[in-house]
Symmetry: C2
Subunit: 217 residues, 2 copies
């Protein structure tokens, strides 16, 4: 941690934090309260030195020869990830993925509140998906100006996704959760987390050809 | 490529291939038929030397000072990813994510056919989600023995996910597309591609604290 309280951490480390958090939760469920970097590295499918290096970014929670206190590590990583805070999330697009997101209780349990869905289709306006109202897309700018919005979720096809993301960026939002099958091409100060479902199943398809053998895990 | 026709490629490279494929498709839509490794690296948000290294794994499709033929590169990566072949996919769990997957045409367009959904809940048996029938979970072993199944999609909560994945592994299946909020802990010869939605939004939540500044892209 820097003197001013800010942290300078690589995106690679950040991308592993949720998996640490998830696996530490599973350890606590099994009443495991202490773990060595070696044991944790096997769960995380990485090396013990990687684990030590990752966790040192956050001040380090371990003691030489004694291991990590699982409860403390879990709580601290949770704080770092902001799970104790509430995050207001809007969704662009009222399709199938939106239904799946809104209906999964896990998001709410970790502080993510879907507060409004915006869609272009007039047939969806005034409806609700789960408890979340669907409003006309052209009301989005006014909504963003008068409500706290932390994350915008993009659940529309490729071309509108790029267009809407740019417009929403101009409204001042910087955190995008993107389910469209494209990259959003936003300026560098936007943080975009992509969920490219087709990309992920294409990796499986690659592996199905048994002549394709990955050389490392 | 090895003499026996097999390829030995790291998982890191494999994980980038679908993004190459997707971006090359977008270039073709814009009638761009030739591209340098420098230009491609900007789209892929990596370095030109990384692009050249990645594509060299597949025999290399570029010519010094001339760039890559986009059509040829797109088609070759498509072949490598197996998009010309049909892949039979089953799903365990008939919930919201399953609805979203079955109703997204993009999978079918790239050779992924959802052929059957299995669920424990008797109320779902005999129903269909989109065109895909839902059958009792205890019929899964017989189904796998008498039908070609390439990929099993896990769309159930954590504990059943781990149990069912192990059972399905024992039936001989090796390619798992996992949407459960856990790691499946399967033997090393299983290939598991995880879609951890909560992990991905937790990364965004981390970034929302403006004191958290990533040091690289």
């Amino acid at each position: 941690m820097q003197k001013d309280g800010s942290r300078k951490i690589s995106k690679a480390v950040i991308s592993r934090l949720p998996a640490y958090y998830r696996n530490l939760h599973e350890l606590l469920e099994k009443d495991i309260t202490r773990i060595s970097s070696e044991q944790l590295s096997r769960i995380m499918k990485t090396t013990a030195s990687q684990v030590r290096q990752d966790l040192n970014h956050f001040g380090g929670f371990g003691q030489q020869g004694y291991g990590y206190n699982v409860t403390r590590l879990y709580e601290e990583i949770g704080k770092i990830l902001g799970v104790e805070e509430s995050h207001k999330v809007i969704i662009v697009g009222a399709g199938n993925i939106t239904h799946a997101l809104v209906n999964y209780a896990g998001f709410h349990d970790h502080g993510f509140d879907f507060i409004c869905i915006f869609d272009r289709n007039p047939l969806t306006h005034g409806l609700a998906i789960g408890p979340v109202p669907v409003r006309p897309l052209n009301e989005l700018p006014a909504f963003v100006r008068s409500n706290k919005v932390d994350i915008v979720t993009i659940c529309v096809p490729r071309e509108p996704a790029k267009i809407y993301a740019k417009k929403i960026y101009k409204l001042g939002l910087r955190s995008f959760w993107n389910f469209a099958h494209t990259d959003l091409s936003l300026p560098d100060d936007a943080f975009v987390k992509d969920v490219h479902l087709l990309d992920s199943v294409l990796e499986l398809s690659y592996m199905i050809n048994e002549k394709n053998i990955p050389v490392d895990k």
